[in-house]
Subunit: 348 residues, 2 copies
DNA sequence: TTGAAAGCGCTAACAA
DNA sequence: TTGTTAGCGCTTTCAA
C-alpha cells in the first residue's frame, strides 16, 4: 500500500501520542497533560475518560517531549567511581527504591576513579536537565564544581563528609573518623602496635582518609603504627599479599592490630593467616570496613565498621524528593551524617 | 494578527543553545547540527568556526531536544534484577565501557526479581526511545515480550541462553550446562554422592537452571543427588546454614560433592566446614559458581565456574553499536554464547 | 556544502 | 475546569 502520499508532513514516529488520547477521550491535549501531573485538577468525568483512553490505546508518554517542554526530565544522574564497588551498588539500589514512587529513573555514570572522566560525565548528564545529580565524594575538579553550581540542578554528594564543603546537599560520613574508630577499637583490644592495609589509596580518596584517621589516632594513642599500601585494587588477594608484608616486617611482634581499608582486604588477611597458621585474634587482631555480606559468617567472624550504605541511598532520595516538592532547605539541614557503627566480632 | 509583542515569548531556560553557537560561528543552526553528527560533511572553515564557538560558549547540546527531534535518544536502558548482584554489576561496568565511545549512557532499572516491576520498567524505559534495551534473562511476561517486539527498539537479553528463544539479540550462556559441568567435575573427583545448594531458586530462574542441570547430570552419571534450597538470598550466611543441613542429613557419608549456586554460598560452606572441623576437599568437595574476587585467594582456594560477565558486557555493547551502525545481522549471528570455564582449585 | 522551514510530543501561560 | 496557543532546542527534509 502506498503510505502517506505527498505531504511528508508528520514523520510520526511514536505509536500513540497524547493527542490521540485526547481525541479518544474527547478532551484537549492539555487536559490530558494536566491529568497526568495533577489528577485532582481535572473533573472526575474528564479524568475517567482520559484514564480509559490511556488504557485502551496503551499510551506511554514520551519523556523527552515532556522533558524538553518542561526543561527538566524525570532523571536522576548518578556518577560513582564504579558500580562494581559493593558500597555504591548498595546505595544505588536503595536510592532507586526511594526514587521509584516519584517515577524518577537513574542515569548511570562510572568514573573509574578518573576525575577527567567525571568532568565529562557531569557535562553529559547535565545535558539531560536531570531532576538531580548524585555524585560520589566531595572532591571534584574546579571545572566540575563550577559547572554543577552554575547548572542550578540539585546536587547530592554521597559517601563522604568532613572534607570539602558540600556544593549543595550531602549524605555520608567522615572517613577519618572511621579510621580513628578502628584504631581506638584495636587499641582497646590490647594491641601493642598497629598497621593499616589498603589498596591504591592514591586513587580512592575515602580510603586515604580512613588511613589518615587511623594513623593519626594511633599516634594520639601513643601506639606505633605503619601503613602498607599497594597500587593494586583493594581485593581479597591483595589482603593476603599485604599480610605477608606485615609478617615479613613485623614477624616477631605479637599483639598487632590490623586495620583494613575494607572487608575484602580483611578477608584476605584471614585466609592468609590461616595458611600461615597465625593466630587471629591472638597475635593479629583484624578489623575491616564495610560489614560486607560475608563478614558475619567468616571464620573467625570479622570485626568491622558498618557504613549504612542503604541509608545513604534512602536519605539521598529523601533529599531529592524534598527539593522537588519545593521544600526549601531552610528548615532542615541538607547535610546528613549517616554515621557508622563499630561491629565487634571474633577477629578483635 | 499583529506581530505579537507580548513579552513572555521565549521562556529560555538553557544557557547556551545551538542557535547561539550558530550565530557566533556565523553559520546556520543546521550546519552546527550537521557538524556534530558528521564533521566531515561540513567545510573545514565552517567546522573550525563551530568548534571555536562551542568552546568559547561552553556549549552542551540538549539531549532531550535532540532525542525528540530524531526520535531516538543516546540512551541504553538496562534492566536487571539487582545491581548489587556482582554478576550484573560487572557486566554493566563493562557494557558502559563499550558504549562510551558512542556516547551512549545507561539508564538503569532494577526489578528485584519481580516480573511486574520488569513490565513497568520496560514501559517506562521505552518511553525514552532508547537506542537499545538490555534485559537480564529470556524469561519475560507475555506483555513485556509483546511490548519489546512492537517497540522496534533493539533488545539484547543477557546472562541466559538455552531457554526461551531470544526476542532479538542475546549474549550469555546456558546455565543448565553450568550445572551439568559442575556435577561432572565433582564426579571426576571421586564423589560418591552429590548435593546442590541454592537460595530462593523460585525467584532466580538462572540459579534454578543450574540446579536442574546439576541434578540431571548427576542422575545421568548414576550418582545419588539432593537439592537443598532455602527461600533466603544466596549469601555466605546461607551457605553455612545449608552446609549444616547437609551435615545433618548426610553426616555419615564421605566423599560428598557439593555444588553451590554461587561463590557466596560456597564461601559459607568453607567457613562452616572450618568451624565444624570438616575436611575439604576430603570429605566434602566444594564447587562454586562465579569465580568472584575472593575465590582464588580463599583457604582452601575455591574451585568454581567462571562465567565471563565482563565479556557479556562488551559483546552486548558490540552488538548494540553494530546495530546502530546499520549493519544488519544477516551476516553474523546476534546470539552470542560466551560460555564458561571450570576452574579447578583446592576445594575439589 | 549550506540554510530555511517544518516539525518531534509535550508543557505551561493565559484566556475562556 | 478546560481549551488555545506558543514554544522547549534540536533534527531533518528539501532546495539553493
Amino acid at each position: 500500500m502506498a503510505k502517506s502520499e505527498t505531504p511528508r508532513k508528520r514523520r510520526k514516529v511514536q505509536g500513540v501520542t497524547m493527542m490521540d488520547v485526547a481525541e479518544r477521550a474527547g478532551v484537549s491535549p492539555s487536559t490530558v497533560s494536566l491529568f497526568f501531573r495533577n489528577p485532582d485538577a481535572v473533573s472526575a468525568k474528564a479524568g475517567n475518560a482520559v484514564r480509559t483512553a490511556v488504557r485502551d490505546l496503551n499510551y506511554a508518554p514520551n519523556r523527552m517531549a515532556g522533558g524538553l517542554a518542561s526543561a527538566s526530565s524525570p532523571v536522576v544522574g548518578v556518577i560513582v567511581p564504579s558500580i562494581r564497588n559493593a558500597f555504591f551498588a548498595e546505595t544505588i539500589a536503595s536510592l532507586q527504591r526511594g526514587l521509584d514512587p516519584a517515577r524518577l529513573q537513574i542515569m548511570l555514570g562510572q568514573t573509574e576513579y578518573d576525575q577527567s572522566v567525571e568532568d565529562a560525565l557531569v557535562r553529559t548528564t547535565l545535558s539531560w536537565a536531570p531532576a538531580a545529580l548524585v555524585v560520589a565524594g566531595t572532591d571534584h575538579s574546579a571545572a566540575t564544581r563550577q559547572l554543577l553550581k552554575a547548572s542550578g540542578v540539585p546536587v547530592v554528594e554521597i559517601w563522604e563528609l568532613g572534607g570539602e564543603t558540600p556544593l549543595d546537599m550531602a549524605v555520608g560520613f567522615d572517613h577519618r573518623e572511621v579510621g580513628a574508630a578502628a584504631a581506638r577499637h584495636l587499641a582497646s583490644r590490647a594491641r601493642r602496635s598497629l598497621v593499616f592495609l589498603s589498596g591504591r589509596v592514591h586513587e580512592d580518596k575515602r580510603a586515604a582518609s580512613r588511613a589518615e584517621g587511623f594513623l593519626a589516632e594511633a599516634k594520639a594513642l601513643g601506639l606505633p603504627a605503619r601503613h602498607f599500601d599497594h597500587p593494586a585494587p583493594a581485593t581479597t588477594e591483595l589482603g593476603g599479599i599485604l599480610f605477608n608484608r606485615v609478617l615479613a616486617e613485623l614477624g616477631n611482634e605479637d599483639a598487632v592490630g590490623i586495620g583494613c581499608s575494607n572487608d575484602h582486604i580483611a578477608l584476605g588477611v584471614l585466609f592468609e593467616a590461616q595458611r600461615q597458621a597465625r593466630s587471629i585474634p591472638g597475635d593479629y587482631a583484624v578489623m575491616g570496613f564495610g560489614d560486607l555480606e560475608f563478614a558475619s559468617s567468616a571464620a573467625p567472624a570479622l570485626s568491622t565498621i558498618r557504613p549504612f550504605g542503604d541509608v545513604i541511598g534512602s536519605e539521598t532520595a529523601r533529599l531529592i524528593l524534598g527539593r522537588r516538592a519545593g521544600l526549601e532547605d531552610t528548615d532542615r539541614t541538607s547535610i546528613i551524617d549517616t554515621g557508622f557503627r563499630v561491629v565487634q566480632r571474633q577477629t578483635t
